[in-house]
């Protein structure tokens, strides 16, 4: 078996299993409704009729993969990209919020990490609060941030990007602090024998050595930024984005909308992480460093 085949076959079989279970569970979860409807119409359902019925409900408890796929197809290909019914439209909005927030969070995180590593007072006073910040449910702060920024004149993507940044800066700070502290005592001593200044040590040793840690954190950061964007859309009432789509689907009982939104978010997450992964492999190879 070829090397690629060796890696793909287990994944395909696991995914295949999942799909089989999925279709099976669709029958099980959607059957109460199906039986209910049948009773109302004084009809009894044979098993095959049950299967057909449960796999084609309009508001199924568990839509089949086929239903989700057709819904996604319908709302991407068959709608204008600029229309509010288009999945592409909402995906692009969430994507922009995510990238914006991720950029802010990464920049802030790296700067904070550098401050923490170089200044003990900063490390001791700020680090505990950084950790505590993640225990504050950002979902609660979200409406306040949006209202506060809105009253100061900042509308549009920025408030949600701030929420995104709040969630993504944490993995970046934690990872970069680890990475900036990763040089061994031997390497620090070397720098000391050359009387290098702190900034020389930072740029010539610490930053290059922290690159593997940075990439791992970037992957976590962008996933967190996406969650932040989705969560930020929930209370904002802005009416756009994948989070909003899932919420309105939930409010109006449109299950297919929830699932298609969720899958789009998953695909978006996978693509963003994959994109970073490509850079990661290229740069780590160039620098001959190992994954951390």
């Amino acid at each position: 078996m070829s090397k690629v085949g060796n890696r793909i076959l287990p994944i395909i079989s696991v995914v295949g299993f999942i799909f089989v279970f999925w279709w099976g569970f669709s029958i099980i979860l959607n059957s109460p409704w199906a039986y209910d409807q049948a009773k109302r119409n004084s009809v009894t359902l044979s098993f095959s009729e049950l299967v057909v019925e449960t796999w084609s409900q309009k508001r199924p408890k568990l839509p089949t993969p086929y239903q989700v796929a057709t819904e996604m197809w319908d709302t991407t290909v068959n709608k204008k990209i600029t229309s509010k019914r288009s999945l592409v439209y909402h995906t692009v909005i969430t994507f922009s919020e995510t990238v914006y927030g991720f950029a802010l969070g990464t920049g802030f995180g790296i700067l904070l990490a550098i401050a923490i590593v170089h200044n003990r007072a900063t490390a001791m006073s700020v680090m505990p609060w950084v950790i505590t910040s993640q225990t504050i449910p950002i979902l609660a702060l979200a409406p306040m941030i949006i209202v506060a920024l809105g009253s100061a004149g900042f509308n549009g993507l920025l408030p949600i990007a701030i929420i995104s940044m709040y969630l993504s800066f944490f993995p970046v700070v934690v990872g970069m602090v680890k990475g900036l502290r990763s040089p061994e005592q031997l390497e620090i001593d070397q720098m000391k024998t050359w009387s290098a200044s702190s900034s020389q040590v930072l740029f010539k040793l610490r930053l290059p050595k922290s690159v593997p840690y940075l990439f791992t954190s970037l992957k976590l950061g962008i996933a967190a930024a996406l969650v932040g964007a989705i969560v930020g859309e929930l209370p904002s009432g802005g009416g756009t984005g994948l989070g909003f789509r899932m919420l309105s689907g939930s409010t109006f009982g449109n299950t297919l909308q929830i699932w298609s939104g969720l899958f789009s978010a998953a695909i978006l997450a996978a693509s963003l992480i994959g994109f970073i992964g490509v850079f990661q492999r290229a740069i780590l190879k160039r620098m001959a460093l190992e994954l951390q």
Partner: protein, 281 residues
């Protein structure tokens, strides 16, 4: 105005104190002060700038208002806490972490599972799991069970990834030694590999504490009985009673910190042998 300047001066003073404390090499008790001083000076600046810049309480209430609301809302806060944290977050946390541990061991035992499940697991861990909250509420109803389910799923995948990574951590030398003793898989597991996996397992447990809390609160946004922190936050926010919202946030932050801190203490006791616990960085 004068209070605002006083607050800024306090912040500068507190910062100088922190720099001095940072230079001390002994005195572990002192180590608690910097974050407290920093937090205190932030609070003072917050309080005085609300007054000085005349910020409306609808946008951001001052810490004093929050404090008063907090102590006068004891019963409500407690009921919300029990609903969200105890029934939703904690139950989901334990179910999710324990099942992830078992699945992780299974993946380790049956290598075939790893190649198939791990990429899927990585995918699921990266996915915004919050999205399944509305689905699970639809399946399990409005009660705490759906919140527990959301937390279980949220916590499961990051924990699983950490467990799988941890199971690989034992040195070849140690495993070879076990082979020379003709130890069975279970014996090797219990006597060697679970111990070496502990640092990673605890990494997963720590990350999961924050996920559990967030998951329970977010899930309540999608439907909940008239109790629970997420519920309280959304309704009070809609009513612009921001002092109540911030009281709930305070409860969440304190809970989260205590939860995280307890896991860290447990970690220190169990993985005392690991270099990261021994080195005084």
């Amino acid at each position: 105005m004068i209070y605002f300047i006083a607050a800024i001066s306090f912040w500068i003073f507190a910062w100088c104190m922190n720099v001095w404390i940072a230079r001390q090499t002994s005195g572990d008790v002192l180590k608690i002060l910097p974050p407290l001083l920093f937090g205190l000076s932030l609070m003072l600046i917050w309080e005085t700038s609300i007054i000085y810049f005349r910020v409306s309480p609808v946008i951001l209430p001052p810490p004093s208002a929050i404090f008063f609301k907090f102590i006068s809302s004891g019963p409500i806060l407690w009921a919300d806490f029990v609903q969200t944290v105890v029934k939703g977050a904690l139950s989901g946390y334990f179910i999710g972490c324990i099942s992830a541990l078992l699945v992780g061991i299974a993946i380790d035992r049956f290598k075939f599972l790893e190649k198939g499940l791990l990429p899927v697991g990585n995918f699921m861990a990266a996915m915004p799991i919050v999205g399944i909250a509305p689905i699970l509420v639809m399946w399990y109803g409005y009660g705490w069970q759906s919140k527990s389910a959301v937390v279980t799923v949220m916590v499961f995948f990051p924990m699983l990834i950490n467990v799988v990574q941890g199971m690989k951590m034992s040195d070849k030398i140690h495993r070879d030694l076990m082979l020379t003793y003709n130890a069975s898989y279970t014996q090797t597991l219990i006597k060697l590999r679970l111990s070496t996996a502990m640092p990673f397992i605890f990494n997963g447990l720590k990350v999961s504490t924050t996920l559990a809390l967030i998951g329970a609160i977010v899930a309540e946004f999608f439907g909940s009985p008239i109790r629970g922190m997420g519920f309280r936050i959304s309704t009070e926010a809609a009513r612009f009673s921001l002092d109540m919202v911030w009281s709930e946030i305070t409860v969440a932050a304190v809970t989260g910190s205590i939860f995280y801190g307890s896991v860290v203490l447990l970690e220190k006791r169990i993985t005392f042998w690991h270099p990261s616990q021994r080195a005084g960085i």
